[in-house]
Symmetry: C2
Subunit: 335 residues, 2 copies
DNA sequence: TAATTTAATGTAATCCGTTACATTTTTACG
DNA sequence: CGTAAAAATGTAACGGATTACATTAAATTA
């Protein structure tokens, strides 16, 4: 592999001139410029970006910590990140953490070992040791999607509480009084927030909150399927089921159908996220749409702004959501 | 950030000794070893891996070119890659190429610019210029999932032709004689191979091949939906529909149901890939299961073997498939 | 104990591109 | 034409870890 010195030799110039030809072409006379460019052509020279990154101390790489890439919502977020990263000249390093804090910390070390400039965390965790702050007092991190209110780093999130309340109000408006909720993983702020929104809407409508209508899940199809089976075993069957994400809802629908229930005639089901499959299931799923790609783009832009010192204090960006009413929710059955 | 020199100074040794303490601890006396380790602790020293990579010329990074991360089959493949990459001490750089050869070439440049050691390509493309071969005459690349027979780099693939034939035979065995096929993108070898397998099975059964039963798709839900709508407009409606992937099949099922058809009573539908949703749709989808995670693992292992010189010629690995019969296929209706 | 081998440590070059500073060449203008 | 200013180019240090080779210290053997 040809180095800058090979080019310099062939073009009868110094390495500095070659470097300038590429970095600041107007600081080189036209004749030498063409000579150098020809030499580059001849040698097939490509700058060793590892050397550049080492020298500059900047890698222009961002670590993205994703609980799992096998989640369509995250897939969309990541797509958005890649668009923004490419625009800003950054590369993404994807870390599939499986929600494991050790793996998160392992990936975060890439910042400490100068392999990456910053981290985008899709969970409400801080994988850094305490002393990793930049000169501005910020961590080289942004937190997207799942966010804890107490964090002091830039965040991009949804008003999950308001969104869940909106969906719950939709169900209440359809006459539902007994609305089950399949939650996400226990510790997740997402879960907490959506639960809070659900409770808000119940309270507004003077519907007593019933803890027995809360079911645990983990955002997977399987979890939704199993939770729905449990729901069918409780005494008074709820007339509606709000699932904290679409995968859960689709799994639940499957179990409910297998049990012979009609949706939405016998029971309404609602999801959250509006993944592509939501529009292609039977019945199409009523859900909350989130601007997933824009989450990713915003997260990258915020992080790059932090890294370049464009931001002095951590902004909290709130993205809009939209209630998408399809066919899986309908009027509460009257007995 | 502390450097190796800071550590050396604090421990009153040379930088060489510090380096040896970490690389070859037995070449350092026990007393100095503990002294150095203490100094490392005190300074919080973390080796600058950018410097290491630059010095060694090896990045221990692999570029993965994925047409789209928003595809659940690829998501599983990538998960498998990450497992294997972690085991072998490599990092993955994910390139979402959207099937665009320019973007592929852009990412492949990361190898030429020493940002990555090799490439895993999930399409049957060679993004490299001709002169990128290693000393063994191999490209630093493996080709997984979608593979063209003529390629000379290591490959991991399925016998797509045999798999498609297996599925088609399953449909024929159920009495179907008119089987439509929704293909993938035109240029894809996957599409070609699965079409060939479909034709093989027809020929075996002496069923004439009818070009009018071929429909174009692009492996998305939407494409399946639209193709199925087109199928409903042709004169003699087929009794079975074989889709070249599950997304297509699920999209098609939706369109067929909306048109009032029952599955499988009126029309059978089969997919390919066995994504998680295949088991959670209505009806659950008959499909071909592929060992997606193992595709990824094998691909990474092959590439690392190429890079380390463990492999002199390019192996062609064929992975097993399995016919998964669920509820979306049934006996052909008798008119 | 002297001589020799082995272990431990140190010195300095190296990887390659960037850039501050130095030097040379060209241009501009009196 | 000569000198000052501007433009073009060159020299060499730098970044941080690794490692070949050199040197010193410790262990072994005669």
């Amino acid at each position: 592999m040809a180095t800058i010195r090979d080019v310099a030799e062939l073009a009868h110039v110094s390495v500095a001139t070659v470097s300038r030809t590429l970095q600041q072409p107007d600081r080189v006379s036209p004749k030498t410029r063409v000579r150098v460019l020809e030499a580059i052509d001849h040698t097939g020279y490509k700058p060793n970006l590892m050397a550049v990154k080492f020298r500059s101390g900047k890698t222009h790489s961002l670590v993205v910590l994703v609980p799992t890439v096998a989640n369509l919502f995250f897939a969309r977020v990541i797509s958005g990140m890649q668009v923004a990263a490419a625009q800003r000249g950054y590369t993404l390093l994807l870390g599939n953490t499986l929600g494991n804090p050790d793996i998160e910390a392992e990936y975060a070390k890439m910042v400490q070992t100068s392999q990456a400039d910053g981290v985008i965390q899709l969970r409400a965790h801080n994988p850094f040791p305490a002393d990793m702050r930049t000169t501005d007092g910020l961590l080289p991190m942004v937190n997207a999607c799942e966010v804890r209110a107490t964090t002091d780093c830039p965040t991009v999130t949804l008003d999950n509480r308001a969104a869940a309340a909106t969906m719950t109000r939709h169900l209440i408006a359809l006459g539902h009084r007994s609305i089950a909720l399949i939650k996400g993983p226990h510790a997740s702020p997402l879960t907490q927030d959506r639960l809070a929104g659900y409770q808000d809407a119940l309270r507004e409508a003077n519907i007593p909150f019933d803890e027995n209508l809360l079911f645990n899940g983990d955002f997977t199809l399987q979890a939704g399927y199993e939770a729905a089976q449990r729901i069918l075993t409780i005494g008074q069957r709820p007339t509606a089921l709000f699932c904290e994400n679409d995968e859960t809802a689709i799994g639940a629908v499957q179990a409910l159908k297998e049990a012979g229930l009609r949706i939405p005639e016998d029971i309404s089901v609602a999801g959250f996220d509006d993944i592509a499959f939501a529009g292609f299931c039977d019945p199409p799923l009523t859900t909350i749409a989130q601007p997933a790609e824009e989450f990713g783009q915003t997260a990258v832009n915020l992080l790059v702004d932090v890294l370049t010192g464009n931001i002095k204090k951590a902004p909290k960006v709130i993205m809009p959501f939209e209630l998408i009413v399809r066919k899986s929710t309908g009027p509460a059955p009257t007995y």
